[in-house]
Amino acid sequence: MPADDSVSFSSVTVTLAGFPALLNLSLEVAAGETVYLRGPNGAGKTTLLRTLAGLEKATRGSARVLGVGLPGGERSLRALAGMMGTRSHLYEDLTVAENLDLARRLLAVSSSRIDDAAELFGVRGRLWRQKVASLSAGQKRRVALAGLVAKNPRLWLLDEPHSSLDAAGRDLLDKLIAEATKRGAIAFVATHEAEAGRAGGRVVEMVGGTVRPAASGGGGDSGPEGLE
């Protein structure tokens, strides 16, 4: 069933503590697409990602994500989605190795897979036996990304994925996303970077909790004078 690979939102509203963080948002995304979410602060990007992850519930409207109906299927959606938000989901008192070992156990994947992911993000060396509490911002991010890659989700939900990552890490992550979408995964990337989407993928401008009508073209995220 091809619909099972796609994402379709119809008039979804999500209220957080009474505030409509998403408002009548409709959106169709096909398998293999990369969607760059852009828009001013408070537009609802993070809320959209959390809804896609099954972490927030639609108050009105309905959606179908990878064959899972929302609201209702949040729990099964969570298993499919891979989310990388501003919080790392790591246990500060555990070492890098122990955190990723937990991921291995919960994902029921082989440990060589975890090792490879850790190797890929350069956290197998000195950091491997360090507590997460003692890592730099970008190092934490790398550990979290290693866990995400090990999960290899069908839905990548990345909230400002480049933040804290150095250039090599950004590059690596971009490649991983490209590779995953090539294999049919869908990626949502919330970002404020001006160059997002230049290399391909769809740019969706959000504002006021919904998708900005395509009319106005690019530049929705840029301020009055535009950047660059």
């Binding site: 729990r75 989901h89 919960l106």
Partner: protein, 221 residues
Amino acid sequence: MIRRAWAVARKDMLIEYHSRVALNQVIPFALAVLLTFGFALDTRDQLLAEIAPGLFWVVVLFSSLYLIARSFRVERENAAMEGLVLYGIDPMAIFLGKLAALAVQMLVLEAVAAAGIVILFNPPVGSLGLLAISALAATLAIGSIGLVYGALSSSEHSGESLLPLLVIPVLAPIVISAAKCWSDAESAGAGIYDPWLKIVSIFGAVFLAVGAAGFGPAMED
């Protein structure tokens, strides 16, 4: 599910292994409380021996509150609980895993506190078996209810001192029954047919079931 529950329990035990919060902080705390109580309440030995069982369970309850709060604090730090949820695992696995780790810590705490109580307050100890069974049942009850209310009150902000308020009234009956159990254990005749033990066990089973049923809804808002 058992595998995942074990992974969760293992993680909580590892955190304790690294941070030694239960061992170096909560258990000595329990001893400090026993001392303060003994001193602050009164100085007549007879009286203290009488209230010792009640005191034991009160101290265990209070110290357990710190263990439960800690159990949720580690999940809150980087929204780690959200991470667990995102593995799509059954809340039941999280519940069982966290309960197992918590129960182990609580049992150690109870052993130390009991030794302290016996030395300091000198209450008669009768049937050890009766004591052990009632302690196990009460531990499961306190742990289960603590975890459910912990999940209920775990918001990003201002939730931490809500836990004791919610938990104490609910657990008051079981703590009282467990104390009565000890008092009964003192009289040699008491065995596993003790009526208070029955009550404690029933409470234990009921609260365990309530916990298992309530944790999922409490956690997944």
